[in-house]
Amino acid sequence: MILLPRGNPVKEKIDPGKINLPEALRKLQSGTFTGYLRFETKTGTGVVIFEAGSLISALFEWARDGERLVNEAAFERIFEQSLAGGATLDIYRLSTELARSIHALLHGEVLYKGQDLKLIDIKALLAKLKEDQMSGCLRIYTKEHVALIFYRDGNPLGFFHDGSTDIETTAGHSMSVAREPGAKIDVLLATNNGEGGAVNLLQTIDLLSVWQKIQDGVVRQRRTLVEEANRSKEAVEKDRQQKVLALLRGTAEKHIGKIGISLVDKEFDKTLPLGADTLSGFYDRLTKAAKLVAGPSTVKTMVEEMQKGLGAFLK
């Protein structure tokens, strides 16, 4: 799971399957948006980071094994999972510096992960960070909240917590996360301190083609699922018809002989699909023909036995 504080919400809990994602990303580009988009899907989390309208990062992390996909592969998964349904999209505004820092740390290295805060010697950890002049962040989190403490060259830069737009210099809210029960800490190293211009992925990736490809795949998959469901439904219905026919044939043979089987076979074809109305017509036709080989009382008994036997199949 990609743990990031929520930032300043622009929009939350959107269904990304209902919007044209390439179009939405183009609008963010033209609006010189800075911040990140978080896609929470059934199979993982996707994060897309903008800096002044430039799409600088796209990342998807699989929930099952933590494997990460970046750039075009990440977009393929994000689009696929969005169209599959059950995903949510949150958009948060950030400052440029914060956006770059997030980008740097997401593509960086995890030094320590999921350590229980109570068991960590924080002072020793901070001393080591300073000694090694590390750049990155400490991520402190519980189930509900996340806070980041950024470091550059071993020196603390500031804090990022839920609702922030920029790196803050006061601990306050961030440290309150550390005091929550069950708080854990990750230590992440950044790749390039968040400096330097990142490539605008909107210019290197043809998002429209990726989107079209994924849409076509989803449509194909849905069609296959519908066809399989129909086939399965057809198979169940066919099985039901065979059972009904076997029951009718057996009852007819018992009362009026082998000619009864022939009569049932002939009239049954006109009875599909099975239903109360069609069966009523079946009984009428069968009765009329059966009266040529048996008496009315025998035919009536036969039909009543058929109706009783078919009661279960028609429920």
């Binding site: 009026i256 002989g257 082998k258 000619i259 009864g260 022939s262 009569l263 002939k266 009329k288 023909a289 009266k291 040529l292 080989v293 048996a294 008496g295 009315p296 009382s297 025998t298």
Partner: protein
Amino acid sequence: MNWELLQVAFWLIAGIVSFYFSLGTARVWTSIAVGFFLILVGEVIPRAMPFLPWADLPQVEAMGLIIGTISIMVMTHGFQEYYVFSKTLEIEGKKSTVYLGTLAVIAASLVFILINPLPDSATLELIKIVSLTNWVFLSLINIDMIRKIFINIKDSPISKGFLAFIAIFVFIFLWKGAALYIRIYELDTLRETYPFRYNLSFMVSHAGNILASLSVGGTFLYLARLLR
């Protein structure tokens, strides 16, 4: 022994039973039952000639013979329809068509007789031979057709009734076949020369008649029981 009185009595019962049977059953049975009923009409008319003032008219005798021919054709038509049903399982048509169609054929025959010269004895003899020939050959055809029907509906409740019909047509074949034999070879005029042939054919014809009437009445009563 008054064969003829006995025969009329038995055919009266058989005819009433078969006509009554035709009323309460499906169309295909109507043809068969009406056909057997018409045998009664064909038997009663010649027998009534000594007793009824108009009965000895040649046209009446001719109509009696023609109605006899119509009867075997109607019942053959009925068995054909039943055979088609036993093979294809298709049934169609109305009962009223059978009644009206039969009446129409009888009416047309009556018109034919009335518009033509009065039939003399030779004409009547020819009409009789045509009638007997129809009976003989259609009886054989019906025996085979009923046999096939029986195979198709072998284990149905009504199948045994068809075995009874085979017996009826065997008796009818003997009855009409013997009568035709007598007529073809004019054994009634040559009875002195061929007494055995004549007497045997005479006995077979009359016995076949009685057995046929008994079996018709009995068969329709049996069928009514099977089709209850």
